[in-house]
Symmetry: C2
Subunit: 197 residues, 2 copies
DNA sequence: AACCTTACTTACTAGTTAGTAAGTGGGCAA
DNA sequence: TTGCCCACTTACTAACTAGTAAGTAAGGTT
């Protein structure tokens, strides 16, 4: 029966679905195997231990984000780039029944049940996203496209946390809440000539 | 051996610790039993099924939040109340090694693995917190203590999501990130007479 | 003194978990 | 054609999961 070429890739895809849907402790090798139509030992063949799979999952997310940042360099200005950042999260929201959650959200929630390897990758992913947002806000302010108080570093932390939190809360109370949150976040960041109140 | 009076209460306390630390799928009745020094069947005596325990956990959170809102009515003005809201989350952050996460965060992340009873309670908790924040922002704006664009409803969603997200992210990258985020959130909300840029 | 309830323990089930060891069949290289 | 490696399967283990049933000891009630 040897030789489906893409089993390893397929395992990663199914595992990612299950992971973002149910959490790391919410799925097993049997779930993956059944979904693909192989035996769970075959999953162990490609990823001997579950933490190997976990690390592979997070590392793929990092590579994906890195490629995404390269592609978005083509976009011009703060707002198109910021909207693109929102859009990748919206994809999670719209997926499947009930929606998935962003990888960082799941990783942080279950942080104490994952291996040190996974934690390290999770930390790096979080830092990379934060760095990207920080650079975006700095450039946006320099170009006069966005308005905020304090450091780019700090407002990037606010924006990142808001998007992550909004995505999770939307799971409980519905996706309308995500849009309400994002709209109001953007509203606060809009350039203001002279103030309200 | 009959008759420790507070076993049920003790189970709830230990379960809450484990829950916020490891997630709902990250602990078992055996973990609870071992921590207290009883047998896992004794846990089943008080909470027949795990979802009964789960619902009890969330309902207690709701009662706790309701009592908290009553107590904070005594505080005068937007900022003391808002700071009190931050403070309850800070408590989670400072707890134990690595910190816990707020209940909403865990519930949302594992939303698809919990029973409908738990989901209902989770939804209600989320709505209650959002309602409280909405009222706070409305009153704060009417009193001229806080400045934001859009609806109180929307800015409440932003603040709630930011705090929840920041708490989780702090798990991965350290608690300094929480303070940075909260400081900058507050900075945006501060009253402004005339604008920047 | 008899009995009932409460709060457990002991002992168990059936199913699932991650993980391993040994075997199997197809395809490719020498 | 022989032999080897890859990608699996079959068959298994040990530990753990939620959950149940039956027994037991203490304390209160009648």
């Amino acid at each position: 029966m040897a030789g489906r070429t893409d089993t390893k890739h397929e395992i990663l895809n199914v595992a990612e679905q299950l992971w973002l849907h149910k959490g790391y402790n919410g799925f097993s090798y049997q779930h993956i195997a059944k979904a693909i139509g192989i035996k769970s030992a075959a999953v162990h063949y490609h990823y001997p231990a579950k933490q190997d799979l976990g690390v592979a999952l997070v590392e793929r997310m990092r590579r994906r984000f890195a490629r995404w940042t390269e592609r978005t360099e083509a976009l011009d200005g703060f707002w198109p780039k910021f909207d693109a950042y929102i859009a990748i999260h919206q994809l999670y929201l719209d997926d499947g029944e009930g929606g998935r959650v962003c990888p960082s959200g799941i990783l942080d929630a279950e942080f104490h049940t994952i291996s040190e390897d996974m934690r390290h990758a999770a930390r790096e992913l979080t830092r990379e996203m934060h760095r990207w947002l920080t650079d975006l806000f700095r450039a946006g302010r320099d170009a006069g496209e966005v308005s905020f108080r304090g450091d780019p570093d700090g407002i990037a932390a606010v924006a990142g946390a808001t998007v992550q939190g909004a995505l999770q809360i939307a799971r409980a109370v519905g996706r309308g809440s995500f849009h309400l949150t994002i709209d109001h976040l953007k509203l606060q960041l809009r350039q203001r000539e002279c103030a309200d109140a």
